[in-house]
């Protein structure tokens, strides 16, 4: 047997549970209690498209160093689901730990001899203490939490504080949970060797950071961004975004005197109606958005062409999941880039924002409304399930008190009276962005007909070639203008001069940063660029030009960002080396490190390693 793993504040615990068994609450308590000890964690739910009965996992990465990406590998498995026992046991790192309910004896063949097996008769303990079956089930989770606190040196006070916070307003439930916690803790202390090799130690590495999911952050961003109309259709993994918007609006967007809502939320009959309502509302001067996922974006294609061509601001939050078709609805991917960037028939290009974590979901969520109004076009905020539905530790949300909404080029009645000639599609300023008016503004001036058919600069219907081309060219100029308005890419130079670079974006960022450190230790030096928006800033082409090869790390099969780079920046495809992870689990630092180290051209890497791909 290999040496049992020993690590302090740097390990991965994975819980294997049955969906609907109440485990999520106990697992959340485990995660938050570690944060209370000042130790950073990254936690991820891996769940099925199911309400009850199917397997679900919760992975907690403890990382005092602050790595927020998924690491890969499991140091301790809390195996509570017989359905997935075999693969759960197989996933444990050699030298790792298996914690399980030992009430029923298991054959020796069900274990491994290179791990430490820790049995705790959870069912026996809870059956003795409780008679109600539901209580037995729920408290079993708290009992294992108690046992883990003893095994891992998780401070019991931290767990108790987490329980008290969780049951705020339902204080009656607190003592019973404390009791169950003690039950598990006492049993472990009396019967097991505590602590094991994996231990927690109080640190001061969390600071004032917040722990929040990206969907909630984006919903809050929409509140701060001034959205008043939300039209949406339920779809995993975006549903909690619209729900968060509603929750924050209920709290923050009521008229203080009348209690009336300064917002309108409609659960539409489908995604077509959702985007239709968003377009109607935005046409009429409200800030409006929808939240959806890949299948919804597919359904919205025709309307997105209309919004592009008729130049109507709209904000879409696309919380990406694994496609195509229904795909893996509860698994993560970055696979909607192309369908969003070029949504609709005909020639179109759309602005995409690529947040890396909930912090950017909030800021980009608010910025998207300014960009939509400024550019008069749909803006996609591209989250994914990993960012959207998992709680991430990130910097507290910040807001500039002097910031005001940028409503873009909108003429009011006074401006119309002063204007010489209003033409809805007239490029007055040379930036490709025309002026618009809202319905109801002026009795005589500024009315125009909005349509998806071709029109001249005065918004008059035409099928003549020249005005059509003129308009399409102006739309390209407008897209060029967008390059200077969207968030700029962020470059991190290597410590030593690097011949190769790497481009990454979105939820791959945390794992990428960790991989860069590991690669550097290995002698592989890479300049790194995190792309935050499409269209690409000039910096992107310059970065690629400055390197021999650029790895493009993304979470889809077809290297969609790479395709956009090749297509829009006319990059030689041979220069862009795809690093692709698309099995539906979040990308890991280990994966990136291995994939790049294998192919890196750094002089510090032994050349003969290239022989083994």
């Amino acid at each position: 047997m290999p040496q049992p793993i020993t690590a302090t504040n740097d390990f991965v615990v994975k819980f294997a549970n049955v969906n609907g068994s109440g485990s999520a609450s106990a697992n959340g308590l485990f995660a938050k209690s570690i944060l209370r000890m000042g130790v950073p964690i990254a936690s991820r739910n891996i769940f099925p498209s199911n309400i009850q009965g199917l397997p679900t996992w919760f992975e907690v990465r403890v990382s005092e160093a602050g790595h927020m990406g998924r690491r890969g590998g499991v140091d301790m498995m809390v195996a509570m689901n017989p359905q997935t026992w075999d693969r759960d046991v197989a996933e444990i790192e050699p030298g790792g730990y298996l914690f399980y309910d030992s009430t029923r004896p298991m054959p020796k063949s069900k274990f491994r001899d290179d791990i430490t097996v820790i049995g705790c008769p959870l069912t026996e303990i809870t059956n003795a203490a409780y008679s109600d079956p539901r209580q037995r089930q729920l408290f079993k989770n708290i009992v294992y939490l108690g046992a883990l606190s003893a095994l891992l040196d998780l401070e019991v006070e931290a767990v108790q504080q987490s329980i008290a916070a969780q049951f705020k307003g339902k204080e009656k439930l607190v003592p019973a949970n404390y009791a169950a916690l003690e039950m598990g803790r006492n049993w472990a202390q009396a019967n097991l060797a505590c602590p094991i090799g994996l231990t927690l130690r109080r640190a001061d590495k969390v600071g004032d950071r917040i722990f929040v999911e990206g969907n909630a952050a984006a919903g809050l961003g929409a509140v701060y961004g001034g959205a008043t109309v939300c039209a949406w259709y339920p779809i995993t993994p975006s549903t909690s975004l619209a729900e968060a918007f509603e929750k924050y609006c209920t709290r923050l967007r009521k008229d203080p005197e009348t209690g009336a809502n300064r917002y309108a939320i409609v659960q539409a009959e489908d995604e077509l109606a959702s985007i239709g309502m968003v377009i109607g509302a935005a046409w009429n001067g409200a800030r409006a958005f929808t939240a959806t996922s890949g299948p919804g974006v597919s359904l919205m294609q025709e309307f997105l062409g209309l919004a592009y061509f008729a130049e109507i601001p709209a904000v879409l939050f696309d919380v990406q999941r694994a496609g195509p078709s229904t795909g893996m609805p509860t698994r993560t991917q970055q696979s909607d880039l192309l369908s969003a960037a070029y949504a609709s028939h005909g020639d179109t290009k759309h602005v995409l924002l690529l947040p890396q974590d909930p912090g950017e979901c909030f800021t980009f969520g608010a910025d998207a409304f300014d960009l939509a109004d400024r550019l008069q076009t749909p803006i996609f905020v591209m989250l994914d399930l990993d960012i959207g539905m998992n709680d991430w530790l990130c910097e507290p949300f910040a807001w500039d008190p002097n910031r005001r909404m940028d409503r873009g080029k909108v003429l009011d009645a006074a401006a119309l009276d002063e204007a010489k000639d209003f033409g809805r599609y007239l490029d007055v300023d040379g930036d490709g962005i025309p002026y618009r008016t809202w319905p109801g503004t002026h009795p005589e001036k500024g009315a125009f007909f909005t349509r998806g058919t071709s029109r001249d600069r005065q918004a008059r219907y035409t099928e003549e070639g020249a005005p059509y081309v003129d308009n399409m060219q102006r739309l390209l100029r407008k897209f060029d203008t967008a390059k200077s308005l969207v968030p700029r890419p962020v470059t991190t130079p290597a410590r030593e001069k690097a011949r190769d670079g790497v481009i990454y974006y979105g939820s791959s960022s945390a794992a990428m940063r960790e991989a860069l450190v590991a690669l550097e230790e290995q002698g592989v030096h890479l300049d790194a660029m995190r792309i935050r928006a499409f269209p690409f800033h000039q910096d992107v082409a310059d970065f690629i030009a400055a390197h021999e090869r650029v790895f493009v790390v993304e979470q889809n099969r077809d290297a969609q960002l790479r395709t956009l780079l090749v297509n829009e920046e006319e990059i030689d495809p041979a220069k862009l080396v795809p690093v692709l992870h698309y099995d539906g689990t979040p990308i890991t630092a280990r994966f990136i490190q291995a994939a790049i180290a294998d192919r890196a051209s750094s002089a510090n890497v032994l050349p003969f390693r290239k022989a083994t791909p």
Binding site: D208, R209, I210, F211, V212, L220, V223, Y224, G226, T228, V229, A231, Y248, L252, R253, D255, T258, A260, N261, R262, Y263, A264, I265, V266, A268, E269, L272, A273, I275, G276, M277, V278, I279, G280, A281, W283, N284, G285, A286, F303, P396, F397, A398, W399, P401, R403, R404, M405, T437, W438, P439, G440, P443, E444, A447, F448, F449, T450, R451, G452
Partner: protein, 351 residues
């Protein structure tokens, strides 16, 4: 027709309404539909109704989908913003526009292809949500712009211009609107301006989801013998339920009716819909009997027209959503952005 711009000049003695506008001020561009198209009569009725009601044209938003009917908003209310959206999706765009600004008058114009086929779902959901709008379907039972295919409102057994016989059941949009909870449902005929104009006026005044199914013969593809949407057929089978006069508190119309013949429906805004009953057994304020009456007369081969159903106390989506009384698009930073202190509290709750 012609693409020549309409001359703006008009006779100085043209009568004006209470906002000082003439009927000409409610017109739009010259129609490009076929000569004799029923839709042009509907445009004229809309113009007349808006003029009669003295609605400021720029406070109306006119929205449509795709098809011959959906082209018509170009031909009326030139001073109003218009939105020719995508096929079958006018209702969602209109719903969004209404959410943004509840103070405008929303006029949705659609056709039978647009509302009964591709947009059947959006038609249904906009009505069941109670969007405050006037939703007019210009119903000719045919796809005109693609040259004569049957639509979902074509009657079973009706014959296409080229001889094909329709074997599918028709959708009666008015009956469905009653079932869906529309608070105002009417049917009329594009050739009957006397009936149509007051119905449009009443619908525009109605503060809820108002639906009007207007039979509108297609002179190019559906006006032949064998069609059940032709001028001749509709004239022969038209059974008016009632005759409608609208009275405002400020200008009482002096029409005398024999007692028992007249039903007055007082709308929420104070206007009175005075209905002279032409059909025994039809009560326009009773949803169930209105539905029964449509079915009953249909079985007898009649097309019932007039005001089929009205709820004098309708409610609309904004009330259901509990939104502020003013337009959402007029709210500024102070009302919309909760500010830094509120954000500090949110941050604290996430630690």
């Amino acid at each position: 027709m012609t693409f020549l711009p309409k001359p703006k000049l008009h006779h100085p003695k043209l009568p004006t309404n209470t906002v000082g506008l003439t009927r000409r001020d409610y017109e739009g561009a010259i129609s490009t539909l076929c000569a004799g198209c029923g839709h042009d009569s509907i445009s004229a009725a809309i113009i007349q109704a808006c003029f009669n009601l003295s609605l400021p044209p720029h406070r109306i938003a006119k929205l449509s989908g795709i098809g011959c009917s959906s082209k018509t908003p170009t031909y009326f209310l030139g001073a109003a913003h218009g939105f020719n959206s995508v096929h079958g999706r006018m209702p969602s765009v209109l719903t969004g526009a209404y959410l943004a600004n509840r103070d405008l008058v929303y006029l949705g114009v659609s056709g039978d292809g647009d509302s009964a086929s591709i947009g059947f779902g959006q038609f249904a959901h906009s009505i069941r949500r109670g969007v405050n709008m006037t939703y007019i379907v210009e119903n000719n039972g045919v796809y005109g712009l693609t040259k004569g295919q049957f639509s979902a409102t074509s009657d079973k057994g009706s014959v296409a211009k080229k001889g094909a016989v329709n074997t599918d059941q028709p959708i009666d949009l008015a009956a469905i609107a009653v079932q869906l909870g529309a608070t105002f449902v009417a049917r009329s005929f594009s050739g009957d301006k006397e009936q149509l104009v007051p119905l449009i006026e009443a619908a525009l005044l109605h503060e809820g989801a108002a639906f009007i199914d207007v039979l509108s013969p297609c002179v190019a593809f559906n006006n032949h013998p064998g069609s059940t949407k032709s001028y001749d057929y509709v004239r022969e089978h038209n059974e008016a339920l009632n005759k409608l006069d609208i009275m405002f508190n400020r200008q009482e119309i002096t029409v005398s009716y024999a007692p028992g013949e007249v039903t007055d429906v007082v709308q929420h805004d104070g206007s009175v819909l005075r209905l002279r009953k032409l059909h025994e057994g039809h009560d326009p304020t009773n949803r169930a009997s209105a539905m029964h009456h449509i079915m009953d007369r249909k079985a007898a081969g009649e097309i019932v027209t007039g005001l089929i159903y009205v709820d004098p106390e309708p409610s609309a989506l904004h009330e259901h959503l509990g939104t502020v009384t003013g337009p959402l698009n007029a709210l500024g930073d102070a009302e919309l952005c909760p500010g830094v202190d509120a954000l500090a509290k949110v941050n604290a709750s996430l630690r």
